[in-house]
Symmetry: D2
Amino acid sequence: MTASSLPQVRRIAINTGGGDAPGLNAVIRAATLAALHEGWEVLGIRRGYMGLLEGDVDGEPGVFPLTANAVRGITHLGGTILGTTTRGNPFGLEVRQPDGTWGRVDRSDEIVQRCRELEIDALIAIGGDGSLNIAHALYQKGLPVIGVPKTIDNDLRATDVTFGFQTAVEVATDAIGRLHSTAEAHQRVMVVQLMGRHTGWIALQSGLAGGADVILIPEIPYHLDRIVEKVRERDRSRRRFSIIVVAEGARSADGEASFADASGRYGGIADRLAAEIGAATGKETRSLVLGHIQRGGEPIAYDRSLALRFGAAAVRCIREGSLGTMVALQGNDIRAVPLGDAVHDLKRVPPDSELVTTARQLGVSFGD
Amino acid sequence: MTASSLPQVRRIAINTGGGDAPGLNAVIRAATLAALHEGWEVLGIRRGYMGLLEGDVDGEPGVFPLTANAVRGITHLGGTILGTTTRGNPFGLEVRQPDGTWGRVDRSDEIVQRCRELEIDALIAIGGDGSLNIAHALYQKGLPVIGVPKTIDNDLRATDVTFGFQTAVEVATDAIGRLHSTAEAHQRVMVVQLMGRHTGWIALQSGLAGGADVILIPEIPYHLDRIVEKVRERDRSRRRFSIIVVAEGARSADGEASFADASGRYGGIADRLAAEIGAATGKETRSLVLGHIQRGGEPIAYDRSLALRFGAAAVRCIREGSLGTMVALQGNDIRAVPLGDAVHDLKRVPPDSELVTTARQLGVSFGD
Amino acid sequence: MTASSLPQVRRIAINTGGGDAPGLNAVIRAATLAALHEGWEVLGIRRGYMGLLEGDVDGEPGVFPLTANAVRGITHLGGTILGTTTRGNPFGLEVRQPDGTWGRVDRSDEIVQRCRELEIDALIAIGGDGSLNIAHALYQKGLPVIGVPKTIDNDLRATDVTFGFQTAVEVATDAIGRLHSTAEAHQRVMVVQLMGRHTGWIALQSGLAGGADVILIPEIPYHLDRIVEKVRERDRSRRRFSIIVVAEGARSADGEASFADASGRYGGIADRLAAEIGAATGKETRSLVLGHIQRGGEPIAYDRSLALRFGAAAVRCIREGSLGTMVALQGNDIRAVPLGDAVHDLKRVPPDSELVTTARQLGVSFGD
Amino acid sequence: MTASSLPQVRRIAINTGGGDAPGLNAVIRAATLAALHEGWEVLGIRRGYMGLLEGDVDGEPGVFPLTANAVRGITHLGGTILGTTTRGNPFGLEVRQPDGTWGRVDRSDEIVQRCRELEIDALIAIGGDGSLNIAHALYQKGLPVIGVPKTIDNDLRATDVTFGFQTAVEVATDAIGRLHSTAEAHQRVMVVQLMGRHTGWIALQSGLAGGADVILIPEIPYHLDRIVEKVRERDRSRRRFSIIVVAEGARSADGEASFADASGRYGGIADRLAAEIGAATGKETRSLVLGHIQRGGEPIAYDRSLALRFGAAAVRCIREGSLGTMVALQGNDIRAVPLGDAVHDLKRVPPDSELVTTARQLGVSFGD
């Protein structure tokens, strides 16, 4: 496509979907400033697609202009100034029925229509696996979309890394470090549960950096007795404390179900493991579920840069007519990859990968 | 007592007891260096009083010389190089019986005797309420003791503040800050449980610094409906998220028991409150139990200074023959107070105190 | 004065003067929310007293309403949303003359007059030594004033500590810690210059917490040869690196002038000391001037709490008619002290104080 | 090469050379543990090659066994437990002559010989550009060497990133953030000088993440008037403060020499720029030289992981007989690249690179 044939862009929009991640505001700021730099108008859409469907969200206009002032000084802020929701799939949007219950309805056509009415030439959709799937489906319905990958879990195949991930690893590594000294002082076993329902990237990277003795991830089912053996082996060599890092989606090889409860919450694995290990070893054992502090708060510099680069790259994609794509980091380069490829499947930790091998070389047990 | 009548000090010993707190190693370092500076020898005792009672603790000598090298570079380290234990009361020491069960036995005379054999002229006992009580009792049995107050909870009456407390507040405030952005992005209620079984100092100071909307402490029983009302009031004024900070020992005014389970663990109040508030408000609600990261890890500069000052002051007390005392911060001064007074009762948060009043002026609800 | 005789307060104003300090925004937020809670209106004055004297400051109204929204989420922000200036003394205000030069003029009467026109019932003046002197003089001219003490340097006598100080100590201690490992790896002498023109509190507290080998403060003139001797002594005992912390206002006992240059800037002492020590010892020596990062950026939790307490206490003072005072921390209490007493003289580090003694006990040299 | 043909490895050695970088100890730990895991012995060499040439370094043996205990708990420590030196080139080693002056002498043959005597089967040389060149030359003389790339500056072409770099960026970004609030409060121009004599990676990444208004790097010569224009433009749009980040090796396009002084130190560019900008704009201007805190202290989790991976990979290289190589990160993979290629030339910031383009899209000026 030659530059001359590119459609004239005049107005773009930005939204954020799914769980928040440190760096969302940096993407919003970069995309807004870069678009204003092109001479375009920028609209912010509140709470995923809700702002397009409702004139008013939480007493504020659902769609509003993003100016240079509106994005000033937000690079380092956690959360998202646009708001987000995990109930935002327009293809199966949860809506409260007249009778008060929640039901699902497909409002995707409305969204495409509404974007046309607003004369939005391109939508920058910042989101994870789910949000990017929605973005791809909207693209196939005719909405010009650019995706920006966002997931704490770092489980998107098309990009080397997603923003927010290294911040989560930093927070988790810091917490593991704090547990170290108290574990050693008391000769305890500490079990710390990190995010990662389907993949173990946060647990693996934080466990490695934080000096965990055992790392349990969904990709490598564990045997309780191997964990117990590791704790005992350390005791025998006079290292009378152990740090066990467990991804929330880790599972036993012995055929048990995962620890998610009926409502999809994963509160339990650390507590249960701690009880089991305490019983088996006779050692004082404590557990910690690190929870939402992994995803809230200020992004580290690495994630600020990456998020800013993604936001600016999305604008370059729009300028160059490269729609239906997602921006991605590959090595030191930012590339545009087809949205359809990007959301194909999860990037799991290969059990024989270099990271896992490195951990094993350092004496880390995966309970297998 | 004139200087000439002071007993000649030649050798002192140091131990740490109870839960660990950031700054223990700084006290140990300061006391050791200051004592070596006086020309004294310094012995470290492992794991409370265990090192005096057992020749060998964990395969290492129970008592060993603390040299300048041994305390090098430890000011900023969490934990304690001496080890600690919460099962260390020599007046009712838990010991494993021949039949494998645990029983209690009074070995305090042995401790006094052992210190005489080792020609220990003074013992610096670093510990909290429990450990200082033991120290006082040993003093009454003739052991020359100086206490150094240690409690995360800051609930000792005789000192303005204890080391470790401000680090716990810093860690908790940082966590509350991280929850803020994710709460706002998702319009959630976040309930975060902090340490404080009997007193609310950590919750109060962190909640204030972190901008909590509700702070629940043991000293001010709460009513669930007042909390719910606060959340709703914020919703009405378009602040559609709320941060609720709860001390683990907080309790309902409606006659319920505390949330400690049979084993004395306080896992439950945040989860339960979150469920109750979620049910009452219909809002997404999440909980977090911050746990041991409040007490592990590096002390902030404030606590390093305070701990170093306590350690050096303890040595001055010994030099001046001021035994049976505890070092304490009062205003900007370090003073020695009688051990007997120091451990009399807990310093609780007065419900009409200036800190509580300040929080109320800022719109914080205590659920009362 | 009985409550009934108190003048009815309807409107207060807040300003910030002098150098910024972490916590200024927390004071502003607390005072604003507490005043709104009383039912009062609150005005913000831009850039010290400039906003009163000029209708327009930097294109914005010089005086504007501080609402709950205006102070939302600013507790942890560095700087001041009101702006500040070090050229703001209304009794000798620097003003640009028609000919382009700067001259001084007394506009204090205008300020009192303007406050009356604006029906300001009380002014909360947040500032350091200089600003509080101005506030006191304005009070004597009839302006109802409450002072809130602000100085990084912690050199106000009437309060145990000022907000911002512990943050500066934390930042400085962190920097000293970072220098430690590079100094040790290279066996270097590192000289780090901290804030403190007239007093050595930051250098002393940070040097103590950071493990400095030498601490040089204005209150204890140093001899170069004593510093050199300390470095050599460490070398002999195989500690082949040294950390020297120097307050910008430190001075040699050998009769030299201070290192402030003609413009009052203190850039030079660290560089010069490093050169002198390097020449005398033959060791690799490096210097660092830590500068403004000590006073910018987020306050630590300690300073957030203290600043919030000061802000709320100022409002209580106004409510109770306690004007012409300054809020102060004494022990764990917030008190109101007469402004006149508060600004009397600087709180210097007594050379025989407990902090200095503690440092000496740990082997720190003061170069004396 | 088949496994059977691999020489039997029994003993390896590790050294660190050049300036320190956060992560050195993590490499040492990982290489040591991984080698012990293979059943090999590990020797540590003190201060680059000095420990091989001198039996005794600083009163300690020049070569000593690295055991599991020796590398315990050092992952997060800055510096290097082996010591380092910037005067360590064995091909032109600086030695003090009998007359007291320093001269150069080639002792590389001695090093190769000494390694044979010690039966060292492979040397892991951790260092930057200079150290890796030396390692390559020693390899060509027959010493089996594996290089591990270390440079704060991130200017090695063969690896996507070096450990220590992201920590430097984090520290610098944090400092820039702190300057922001004080700059804004006072409406000042702040000039902050970061490391980077030959390349601008730290300045570029930190400036981007920290929200700098102007970034000056060696690869893009600047014009003073463009910087001044940027400051004025911000003033006109009521952003009355500016943050200018400058790499120490940045240079004016107007033909001036670099700011290194005769001794190779780069103290001056920030001070000089601040003076020039202050004079040209009439604004209050301050400078800060961030210095060694960028390279000292704890590595962030990213650098800990990367360093551990490099250390473990070096051991795999030795096991597989892949000598004369350097470990490198490429995308998410660790690869071995020929040492000869690795040290060919510096990786400079391409003026038209995506990072520079991103910064320009956000409105950053490079002064060109």
